[in-house]
Symmetry: C2
Subunit: 421 residues, 2 copies
């Protein structure tokens, strides 16, 4: 019997009515004669509410205890969805992440799945049950509850699809597929019929929030096809994410926008070059650069080793580490008179994604000139095999997206795109 993993996100199971709607989709699929494993997230805002509750008690909560707390959200969903499936006359059984055999490393809050022991799930499927599994959670070797980080339920679904050799992993959410760009910012955005793992990964890394990057990597590694579909249009097949040989060969597949970055500029004080302090200051600067690199900043000039020639440093980082970076810079500035640093939170990173486009010099120059032509200031313009990116002020986000989309995504694509229904 063909085997399928279905995953439903928090907005799809936000209350009893939504859970019954999801149960209907699952029941219809089961009646088509599929073996089904269903992965669910916590209901609606449950996770955020639990985080808020913990914040009322501690402003620096232990990660192990946060995992213990947050894992309850998905456990509530699996029990309720199973009750709904049973109400529809189907055999179903719920499994927590640990019960489903999802073994992870010990990194609480950001655990990685190491392996899946499928014995219990296989037995459940053999009994003709629909196995309903809690997403986002697993267990360490020593039976500690772990969680996989935001978007972790996608990873659970793909890992189960791989371990159970399912034919496909259907990820249901509140959007109906992958678009050329965010339809909320650009009316002309069009849905893609299919994309390759590589393109999807680049889109995810570049800020497209539709699929968690780790789950795409896992799907690529295990050759698990993902279908991204809408819970609210269950007959629509959405976007297929699969191997390149099965997807259209897009010149440009999409335009992603990431507002999760912060830029920093450090001005290195005059004092630096006085002979007396030079060596000490160079030591400090070298240490700062090392610390920045190991903190995971982006765009820091890799030639910045010759510290004596530097008058300033510019780089980007993700919002979640910006406090740490601020502390490093504050310390440096306090020890070197004349130094100062500037931070900009109001930036957006635009990325044009497509196989091989980074090596197309004409295209990169066209990308730049469109932004220039619209008087949109750009910084940190970079290219990779599969993307061209630039940082712009957030206030220009929508106008830049629309202009670039019109030029690169709306027409003249090498392969025709399916029109949005």
């Amino acid at each position: 019997m063909p085997r399928l993993v279905q995953k439903f996100g928090g907005s799809s199971v936000k209350d009893a009515e939504h859970i019954l709607r999801v149960a209907k989709i699952v029941a219809d699929t089961a009646r088509e004669g599929k073996e089904l494993v269903v992965v669910v997230s916590a209901m609606g805002d449950t996770t955020d509410e639990l985080i808020k509750l913990a914040a009322e008690i501690s402003d620096n909560p232990d990660r192990r205890e946060m995992d213990m707390l947050l894992a309850t959200g998905e456990q509530i969903s699996i029990a309720l969805l199973t009750l709904a499936l049973q109400k529809f006359g189907l055999k179903a059984r719920s499994f927590t992440g640990p019960q489903a055999g999802i073994l992870t490393d010990e990194t609480h809050s950001f655990a990685r799945i190491k392996t899946v022991h499928t014995t219990r799930l296989e037995a459940s499927l053999r009994r003709g049950e629909i196995a309903v599994v809690a997403g986002f959670q697993g267990m360490t070797r020593t039976s500690e509850v772990t969680t996989l980080g935001r978007g972790g339920s996608d990873t659970t679904a793909v890992a189960l699809a791989a371990a159970l050799k399912a034919e496909c992993c259907d990820i249901y959410t509140d959007v109906d597929g992958v678009y050329t760009t965010d339809p909320r910012s650009c009316e002309a955005a069009r849905r893609l019929h299919a994309v390759s793992y590589e393109e999807m990964l680049e889109l995810a890394f570049s800020g497209a929030q539709v699929l968690n990057a780790r789950s795409v990597e896992l799907a690529m590694k295990n050759r698990v096809p993902i279908r991204l579909r809408s819970t609210f249009k269950p007959t629509d097949t959405g976007t297929l994410v699969t191997s390149r040989e099965f997807t259209p060969n897009y010149k440009i597949c999409g335009l992603a926008c990431d507002v999760d970055n912060v830029s920093f500029k450090l001005i290195i004080g005059e004092d630096f070059s006085t002979e007396k302090n030079e060596s000490k200051h160079q030591e400090r600067l070298k240490k700062l650069i090392d610390d920045l690199h190991s903190s995971g900043v982006d765009g820091l000039d890799s030639n910045a080793k010759n510290t004596s020639e530097l008058s300033n440093l510019e780089f980007l980082c993700q919002k979640r580490i910006s406090q740490d970076i601020q502390s490093l810079l504050k310390e440096f500035v306090s020890e070197l008179p004349g130094s100062e640093f500037f931070q900009d939170n109001e930036i957006a990173k635009l990325s044009l994604v497509g196989s091989g486009i980074g090596t197309d010099i004409a295209l990169a120059s066209e990308f730049q000139s469109i932004l220039n032509g619209a008087s949109i200031p750009t910084r940190f313009v970079t290219t990779s095999d599969i993307s061209i990116s630039a940082i712009i002020p957030q206030s220009y986000r929508n106008s830049a997206l629309n202009k670039l989309h019109q030029k690169f995504c709306a027409q003249n694509l090498e392969q025709p795109l399916e029109a949005t229904k």
Copy 2:
């Protein structure tokens, strides 16, 4: 180091503020130099809210899935209380029932603890941690989550105290001990300094809701002293429940009232004695009596074997099985013309509890005459070694309680009672 189990009920951990208050009590005890295991219930109305949520989905929910659902309530509490203890600078770690090694039988929703594997808890205590354990839940041999029924967290606490050889099990709740009778119904009610397991058990069975009867049985069997205390008066030592040799030898220790009963009266139709149908009807009546006995009804005359002499049956049952009893009687009545049955939900069972009082005929007659003197109708008057009980209409509840309390509990007790503070 002396070892103690503390248990906090749902009203003691109903929000972040209350959890921090509980953490303060635990922290103060830990700093006195005790090894501590802390058992908590679900926050406030969490369990009822989860039951309501399940009812929105299914009107006959599967018990296994209900256990999966309800177990989340205590899991939230343990994580939050552990965070609160860590905030106060203490080492603490949370354990679900399964992680704490609480093994139960397979009876979902009403599971019984079979054994406790203390390895993980012992290791935690050895590391100097406060072990925070989810009450009300356990795990079967096959790693299925089970719950222990209402009041199950008390049972968890006593079972852990027994398995870990704790010196005492402190059960914190919103009342400050065991009273001679319910203080909400009788202003003269006085708190008891100590009671024996036997007396407490009889009070619990007779409707005193202060402690779960199963937990008292377990404490008695394992000789675990219980202290019943108030979260809101942490310096008050409450009521000690322990072996008879350590408690005052009360003539009468208390007066309990149970409103969880329903009474039934079945009139057996005339038709019964016609020769033709006699044998068939006798068969039916015998079967009914057997069914009633095995359903767990109370007060059914045990001489009722000679069915041919019966013209009616009167008995009691607990509310939770009254629907089943109704169905049995409806079926019987429908098959025997002239039969009918009456049901009374508005009854209360009053029980005077004290060691050996049931054999004191003068006392039993005084009990009856006080109720008669106040024109309170009584039925099902029964005695046991340790109690005298009567069923009265619920509308007379408070006046009966006050009259009986004044006579038997307020003065002339063989041992002086500690006055309520």
